[in-house]
Structures are given as structure tokens and as C-alpha cells.
């Protein structure tokens, strides 16, 4: 899930840029490591340009990716700009509870995408999620989904770009304009040249670098603490009376854990609606799977991705927990950090890098952070270019142009998307409160969209009107609930079932309610309107679609077998850290 990191955002930007001392200093070897990375990603873009000659090449990587490549890219695109730093910070603040966003908040949804939903996305030959909505529910649903996705994607990309530049300013002292322009123009160049093909190739490279750059801290940290048990003992010593190391045992009461959340919020809100909404309908990630070369690869890609996703906490959450155990000072929230000059939660990963990484390794760690940002931004930009070209431009502006025209439009949309993102980054720099609003806006669309898509795939009786009005009602209700709590904070007791709920808990319950409203409205309107003939739903809906038989395949070639193995591992890990 995309992480929203508010890095010293309570401070006026001008003051911030002038006041923050750098946390790390790079050696020439570190600079060489980072420069090599930039040279390689640009080089890959130039190399792949010759293979990107049609719209299908540019927007769907020729639909020729293996399950492994599509699966790794699927996970890497989600890593986003500040995944490593953001979730390490969350782990320092909330403890191992942050792992829920990687396990129950991702794995079941990814497996569901692979086993249940992917056949319909793939067999329908759609190029996007809004494209599926058009096939299933008609143009109004596609238009609503495409426009909101397009606008929110570039705005989010801009916010992430600004956040990343701020991080580089704070930890390395880099000029904020330098960071914004160099990183974004690099992404623009390689996506412009090679489209999704280039984005996917670089995402696989970036995924490797993120692992190799992030794993050092975890390994050396565990050596310092004497293993997991030693780390837990040190955390208990440093923070007596607080529970940072149990996943579930503190979730029986809102006050029993650092996050102020009840297990129902985690299971139904995060693991249910939010996770399923994000992992199964956010085109940023689904696009990677649509690039698979055949249906079996498309089904396997999210399952392979789930296997890797399950391991990401070892490079993201573990450094945060190690920070609780070994850092000599207690990190604090952003407001307190600004007021007192202490280090904030958000600085835990750079502090750990500085603690363990000498010349070269530090450069690798910083490269991992930059790679995370670039993979997320490339995901945003390539998804934006596809949705804008196919679902807005071709649908409503010019319907009958040739493939080469749409290919050119896609390339220039990449540049446009990056420029709008840069504009959004500068807008946020001037008006920081925009960041909070846009991040909230993005969350409004995910949960209802999942309600619409899942009913569309599994319920033949759902009608075009039902799909559109359900999506609209779910989205509007989510906005209204958000405004209600802003205007009257006591409303939190109704939305999140507890006045003690924190922001994350509020988001989860708001998602749950908006999904329920979407589903109820879709069902009621569908029952009151004329259904489409079943023959029109072939390839789009369960029960109307002939799915390929897998009974003749050996067990190890069946996606269900691997999904079961991943699910068993998920249960075992949750029991282990209960």
C-alpha cells in the first residue's frame, strides 16, 4: 500500500530548507555507486526503445512478460517513493504492528487477484482497470474511474516526488530542486523511451537493489543485538511496559497497542476492503500483471509477488524494530522533533544506515531509497499514460486514430505526467496542507472501486446503472465521512467505533463503510434495473465465462497449489509473531 510520509511538514518550507542539518555524508565511492545506478537505468531505457514499436509494446510491454518478471515488477511498483523509510518509521512508532500492512494487508488480496480476478482481467483483453469497467458497466463508470485515477495518480506522484526530495535534503543535504528534476527527468526518459517494458525492466533491477541495499542493516543489526530474542529484550529494556513485538495479542482493545486499533479494524478494514481495493483494482499494480504472456503467467505473477511481499518486512520493519533496540536516543514525532531538534521517527532508517554502513555500503543503501522512489514514480507515470491515452483520449477525444498515433500520445503523456507531477511537487512545497488533502482524496476511490469491480466480476445480475451509481455513492460517502470528522472530531466515535482511534484506524473504518455503501447501492439499483443478457457478459463475469481447465496440469504447475503454499506460510508467520 502506498505510504504517506509527512517529513517535517509542520515546519514552513523556507524554514525547513534552511534549518535541517544533513544526517549522512557520502564518500566518493558512494557517489560512484549512485551515479552507476542512474547510468544503468537510462541505458536500459535507450536499449529498449528499439523494442517498443507498437501501442501494445508501450502500454502492456508486448504482453510478453514471464510470471517472474511480472510478479517482481508487481511488487516493486508498489514499493513507492518512501516505502523503506516510511514503514521503518512506522515500525519504530507502532512496533511490529506495521507488519500487518505487508501480511494480512496484502497477501490475501494478492492471492485473490491471482486466483479469482486475474482470469477476467486477462481474458477480457482489457488494457486497464477503467477499461474493464467500460466493458462491464459502460462508459460512465469508465469515465468516473479513469478521470479520478488519472488526476490522483499524477498528484500523488508529485507529492511523493516532493517528499523524496525533502528526504534527500534532510539526510544528504542535497538541493531540493536538484533532487526533483534529476530523479523525475530520469524516470521520464526511460519510460518515454521504452514505456511499460522499460518501467518493468527497471523495476526488477530496482527490486534487487532495494533488497541488497536494505538487507545489510537487518543482518548487522541482528548480529549487534544477538538475534531476535536479544532485540526483543533490548526493546523491553528501553521501553518498559510497552508492547512493540506482538502482532495480534494487543489488538483485543483499542488501548492495548501503540496504534490504537482493534483487531476488527485490521482484519475487516485493512485486510478486507483496503487491501483488496488496492491490490486488485489499483491500475498502478494491476498493469504489471496484465503484461504477462499468458493466463497462467498472469495468475502466477501476483502469487510470486505475494511470496516476495511477505519477506519485505525483513528489510523494512526489522530496521525500525532494531532502531528501538539499539539507538541511544528515543526518536520522537515530527512536531516534537522540529521543536526540540531531536531526531524524528522518520529518520530511523538513515540513522541505522549511518550506524552500520561504511563507504560503498552507504551508497548502496541510498541507491535503494532512490530506486524505491523511481520504481514507484515509473509505476505512476506508466499507468497514467495508459489510462489517459486509452480511457480518456481514445474514448472521448479521438476514437479512430491509428496505433502509431496512440503510441505517440502515450509517449508524450509520459512527459506530461512527469511535468504535472513536478508542478504538483512545487505546489505542495508552497502549500503543505495540500499533501494531507490529496492523500486523503486518493483513499476515497480505492474501497468503492473494489466493490464495483468485484460485483461486476462475480454477480451477473449487476447492471450498468448499478455499477455507476454504486461507485459514485461509495466515493461520495467516503468524502462526506472524511469531512464530517474534520468538522466535528467527535464523529470519530461513529466512523471508527472509538473516540480513541488514530488516523490509520479512521481510514480503515471509512474504507469499510464506503465499500458497504457501494455494494448496497449497486445491489439495490441493479435489482431495480434491467440486467444485460448473459451472452454479453462472456469473458467478463464468473458463471458466464469459460475458464481454462487446470485439472490436467501437474500439481506444481497449478496457481492454486502455489497460492496455498503462500497462504500457509502467511498463517505460520502470523502465529510465530502472535
Amino acid at each position: 500500500m502506498r505510504y504517506a510520509l509527512s517529513f517535517r511538514t509542520k515546519m514552513p518550507p523556507a524554514l525547513l530548507l534552511a534549518a535541517t542539518p544533513r544526517l549522512l555524508t557520502l564518500s566518493p565511492v558512494d557517489v560512484a555507486v549512485i551515479a552507476l545506478y542512474f547510468a544503468m537505468v537510462i541505458g536500459i531505457g535507450f536499449y529498449l526503445k528499439r523494442f517498443t514499436t507498437t501501442g501494445e509494446d508501450f502500454f502492456l510491454a508486448g504482453r510478453d512478460m514471464t510470471a517472474w518478471i511480472a510478479g517482481l515488477s508487481f511488487v516493486a511498483a508498489n514499493l513507492g517513493s518512501l516505502e523503506l523509510m516510511g514503514w521503518a518509521a512506522a515500525a519504530y512508532q507502532y512496533g511490529i504492528l506495521a507488519t500487518h500492512w505487508y501480511w494480512i494487508g496484502a497477501i490475501p488480496a494478492m492471492l485473490f487477484l491471482g486466483i479469482v480476478m486475474m482470469p477476467f482481467y486477462y481474458i477480457s483483453k482489457t488494457h486497464s482497470v477503467p477499461g474493464y469497467l467500460q466493458l462491464r458497466f459502460g462508459e460512465p463508470s469508465r469515465a468516473l474511474s479513469a478521470i479520478t485515477f488519472g488526476v490522483m495518480t499524477v498528484l500523488m506522484s508529485g507529492i511523493n516526488m516532493y517528499s523524496m526530495a525533502l528526504v534527500m535534503k534532510v539526510i544528504l543535504g542535497w538541493d531540493i530542486h536538484f533532487s526533483i528534476w534529476v530523479s523525475s527527468l530520469t524516470v521520464a526518459a526511460y519510460v518515454f523511451l521504452g514505456g511499460l517494458l522499460s518501467a518493468i525492466f527497471n523495476e526488477v533491477l530496482q527490486f534487487m537493489l532495494i533488497w541488497l541495499g536494505g538487507l545489510v542493516v537487518s543482518i548487522v543489526g541482528l548480529i549487534e543485538t544477538g538475534g531476535w530474542n536479544g532485540m526483543v529484550a533490548r526493546i523491553h529494556h528501553n521501553f518498559p511496559g510497552q508492547d512493540f513485538t506482538h502482532l495480534w495479542s494487543g489488538l483485543g482493545h483499542f488501548a492495548g497497542n501503540p496504534m490504537g486499533i482493534h483487531w476488527t479494524g485490521i482484519v475487516l478494514g485493512l485486510g478486507g476492503v483496503i487491501a483488496f481495493g488496492y491490490w486488485t483494482t489499483d491500475f498502478l499494480v494491476v498493469q504489471r500483471v496484465l503484461s504477462a504472456r499468458d493466463l497462467r503467467s498472469a495468475e502466477m505473477a501476483p502469487i510470486i509477488g505475494a511470496g516476495f511481499k511477505m519477506m519485505v518486512p525483513f528489510i523494512v520493519i526489522l530496521p525500525g524494530l532494531l532502531g528501538l533496540a539499539v539507538l541511544p536516543e528515543h526518536l520522537v514525532g515530527e512536531a516534537q522533533a522540529v521543536a526540540t531538534g531531536a531526531h524524528s521517527y522518520n529518520e530511523v532508517l538513515p540513522l541505522m544506515l549511518a550506524r552500520y554502513c561504511g563507504p560503498g555500503l552507504l551508497g548502496l543503501g541510498i541507491t535503494a531509497l532512490i530506486a524505491g522512489f523511481m520504481s514507484g514514480m515509473a509505476g505512476n507515470v506508466s499507468a497514467f499514460a495508459t489510462v489517459w491515452t486509452y480511457d480518456i483520449y481514445r474514448a472521448f477525444v479521438r476514437k479512430d486514430a491509428g496505433d502509431s498515433h496512440y503510441l505517440a500520445v502515450g509517449r508524450w503523456c509520459t512527459v506530461l505526467g512527469v511535468l504535472v507531477s513536478i508542478g504538483a511537487a512545487y505546489l505542495v512545497m508552497q502549500f503543505l496542507s495540500i499533501m494531507d488533502y490529496v492523500q486523503a482524496l486518493f483513499s476515497f476511490f480505492i474501497a468503492p472501486l473494489f466493490g464495483t469491480v468485484i460485483l461486476g466480476m462475480l454477480w451477473p445480475r449487476a447492471t450498468n446503472a448499478g455499477g455507476f451509481w454504486g461507485l459514485l455513492a461509495g466515493t461520495v460517502s467516503s468524502v462526506c465521512m472524511w469531512i464530517w470528522v474534520k468538522v466535528d472530531p467527535s464523529a470519530l466515535a461513529y466512523i471508527a467505533l472509538s473516540p480513541r482511534a488514530r488516523d490509520m484506524a479512521e481510514n480503515m473504518y471509512r474504507a469499510l463503510w464506503s465499500w458497504i455503501i457501494c455494494v448496497v447501492v449497486t445491489v439495490v439499483v441493479s435489482l431495480a434495473t434491467q440486467p444485460r443478457p448473459k451472452e454479453e457478459l462472456a469473458g467478463l463475469v464468473y458463471g458466464c465465462t469459460q475458464l481454462p481447465e487446470t485439472a490436467a496440469l501437474p500439481l506444481y504447475k497449478r496457481p492454486v497449489f502455489w497460492a496455498t503454499l503462500v497462504a500457509v506460510a502467511l498463517v505460520a508467520l502470523n502465529l510465530l509473531f502472535w
Partner: protein
């Protein structure tokens, strides 16, 4: 692995980069062994740079050789 139109495998690119990183980080780690910095990192005695550099070097060599472009590729 991707086999689209005789394209060089992504794993080859990864191998080349890891190879270069391995050389750089291993060399920097060895330099630190003989010229320890004024402010060493925690657990500097483990020489993490040396071991990690060797790991990257080994991975880089494996991927570069295993997925090197064939004559029919990379036109």
C-alpha cells in the same frame, strides 16, 4: 526470463551492475581494513563492506555469465 524479439535478458543488466558494485564496495571495504576511518561504524570489526562486496561480486558474475547475450541477441 523475457525472450521478446531476441532481447537481452534483464538479469544480464542486473549482473553487470552488481558486478560493478561488488568491485567498488569490496575495494572500499578492503581499503577500510588497512586504513580504518577516524569514526568507524558500529561493528566495523565485521568488515561488512568486504563480505557484502564479495556477495555482490559473486552474484554479478553469476548473472553476467548465465544470462550473457547470445550471438543471435541484441541486434
Amino acid at each position: 526470463m523475457h525472450e521478446h524479439k531476441g532481447m537481452i535478458s534483464i538479469w544480464f543488466f542486473i549482473g553487470v551492475l552488481l558486478l560493478a558494485y561488488g568491485v567498488l564496495i569490496f575495494a572500499a571495504g578492503v581499503y577500510d581494513v588497512f586504513q580504518p576511518p577516524a569514526k568507524p561504524v558500529v561493528l566495523a570489526r565485521l568488515h561488512a563492506g568486504v563480505w557484502w562486496g564479495l556477495l555482490l561480486l559473486a552474484m554479478g558474475l553469476f548473472y553476467s555469465i548465465r544470462f550473457r547475450p547470445k550471438k543471435s541477441q541484441g541486434n
